[in-house]
């Protein structure tokens, strides 16, 4: 599952005092768009990481970016309650923004293109998810609202059929909605559910004991996974709707992606991507991707340190009640030194993570 060598390449995109809020890969992985915790989109050339262009239209911090691999459209959403769709004008060799009025009264938090590139959905603090599509007659993007949520929508994920949308919210729920838009989608499809339902209606709802930070569908759409703030990972298999809850023994995860039908990677406050794998219909945590380098061999203690070690033992017993003092876990060896807030699959099937530590790390399994 995880071969002995997980290769990781680290690139400090911006200083650790600034941080990276989100990132997205361009077609073919040749370019990377990211935001450095401000209102600008920076596009850099992959590999050399040289800055190609800075796009400034938003007024406030950019919360999320998504870049569709076929249409080459970039969509950005921001705390300024707006989204912009950027398309590259070949003649002028420049990115042209189109403002999308989302009609939300609070910040936008996450955005994703539908797999067919015809729509995008935005999760917002206004407890709703605008689903936006292009109206050719009026030459602008319109939004249709999915409500139903009782609190901020922290994450969204499209089903491969581009008609079903999963959302994770801070009302402790993950839900699957219909995002069928009559003008855009041809015939309504229901994936693994019995029959299609109207836009904005709920196919399924799942509860958790923590805010649902991340949701994702498997490549076929027959599995849904979500991670919550109570350090749990949930896996649902359709069509039965059977949910498996894994209580984790580490810090909460906030983002996740499926590598394939039976493997999923999630990352969050432990600053280390975690691999989950399915075997015999049961999911389990397999391993962390980042490994501590082997410590140098310790020299054998000499006789005189025996007295010292006995003294240390009694001192520890006096201080903490345990015979040995446990060294606090040192996290300096980790590639990331800040929580991983954005995790994406690169076009060539590697994983990329960014964090408020300003780093971009590429993981190859």
């Amino acid at each position: 599952l995880v071969r002995a060598g997980v290769m990781a390449a680290v690139q400090q995109l911006v200083e650790g005092t600034v941080g990276v809020s989100c990132h997205a890969w361009g077609p073919g992985g040749r370019e990377l768009a990211y935001a450095a915790n401000n209102n600008e989109v920076r596009i850099v050339e992959a590999g050399s990481w040289k800055e190609k262009v800075v796009l400034s239209e938003h007024d406030m911090t950019i919360a999320a970016i998504d870049w569709h691999p076929e249409s080459n459209f970039i969509v950005t959403c921001s705390h300024d309650r707006n989204a912009f769709v950027w398309n590259f004008d070949e003649e002028e060799k420049a990115w042209k923004p189109s403002l999308v009025i989302l009609r939300i009264e609070r910040a936008a938090l996450c955005v994703q293109w539908s797999p067919d590139g015809q729509k995008f959905a935005v999760g917002s603090s206004a407890k709703c998810v605008p689903v936006c599509y292009y109206e050719r007659d009026n030459n602008w993007w319109v939004s249709k609202m999915i409500k139903k949520h009782k609190s901020s929508v922290l994450s969204i994920a499209w089903h491969p059929n581009s008609q079903q949308l999963a959302s994770g919210a801070s009302d402790f729920r993950a839900r699957v909605f219909s995002a069928f838009v009559a003008n855009v989608d041809e015939a309504p499809v229901a994936g693994d559910f019995p029959s299609p339902i109207a836009f904005g209606e709920t196919y399924a709802e799942f509860a958790s004991n923590g805010w649902v930070h991340g949701v994702a569908f498997s490549p076929s759409g027959s599995s849904l996974a979500f991670v919550a703030h109570d350090s749990s990972a949930h896996f649902v298999t359709f069509p039965d709707g059977v949910e498996q809850v894994i209580k984790l023994n580490f810090l909460p995860l906030v983002q996740l992606v499926f590598l394939d039908e039976n493997r999923c990677v999630a990352a969050g406050h432990d600053m280390n991507p975690a691999l989950f794998a399915r075997a015999d219909a049961a999911w389990a945590f397999a391993d962390f991707l980042d490994k501590k380098p082997a410590a140098p061999a310790k020299t054998a203690p000499d006789a005189s340190s025996d007295v010292r070690s006995r003294m240390a033992m009694w001192q520890n017993k006096d201080r903490t009640g345990q015979a040995t003092a446990k060294a606090p876990d040192n996290t300096d060896w980790l590639k990331h030194q800040g929580p991983i807030t954005c995790l994406k699959l690169t076009p060539d099937r590697a994983l990329s993570t960014t964090s408020p530590d300003g780093k971009l790390v590429l993981w190859r399994l």
Binding site: N209, H229, D230, S231, K247, P252
Partner: protein, 104 residues
């Protein structure tokens, strides 16, 4: 042996108490749990933590933290329970103590 089973039974009854909003019932149940914890020796502490599974371990840790809220002579033992439980169940268990809206 009987003492460990007593504690297990109290932990199994805990979800009902956690679901209610009755502060008195919660305090009463907590007192029973602390009494049961006191009766166990350090060796039995180790055996119990080894045998306990995730859900009961989470509930027990919630009681340990509740006990530590008040300064008392029993806190030395509670720190040992905390150390043993987090050794087995990790930081995630502590996160669930903090995030679970249903309290003990």
């Amino acid at each position: 042996r009987g003492r460990m089973a007593d504690l297990m039974r109290l932990l199994d009854d805990a979800p009902q108490v956690m679901n209610s909003k009755d502060a008195e019932a919660k305090s009463a149940h907590a007192r029973k749990v602390f009494t049961a914890l006191d009766r166990l020796s350090e060796k039995q502490m180790g055996e119990l933590v080894d045998s306990i599974e995730q859900d009961r371990g989470d509930i027990l840790l919630k009681y340990v933290y509740r006990g530590l809220e008040v300064s008392s002579e029993n806190n030395a033992a509670l720190f040992k329970w905390q150390a043993k439980l987090t050794d087995k169940f990790g930081v995630g268990s502590i996160v669930r103590v903090l995030t679970d809206r249903k309290t003990v």
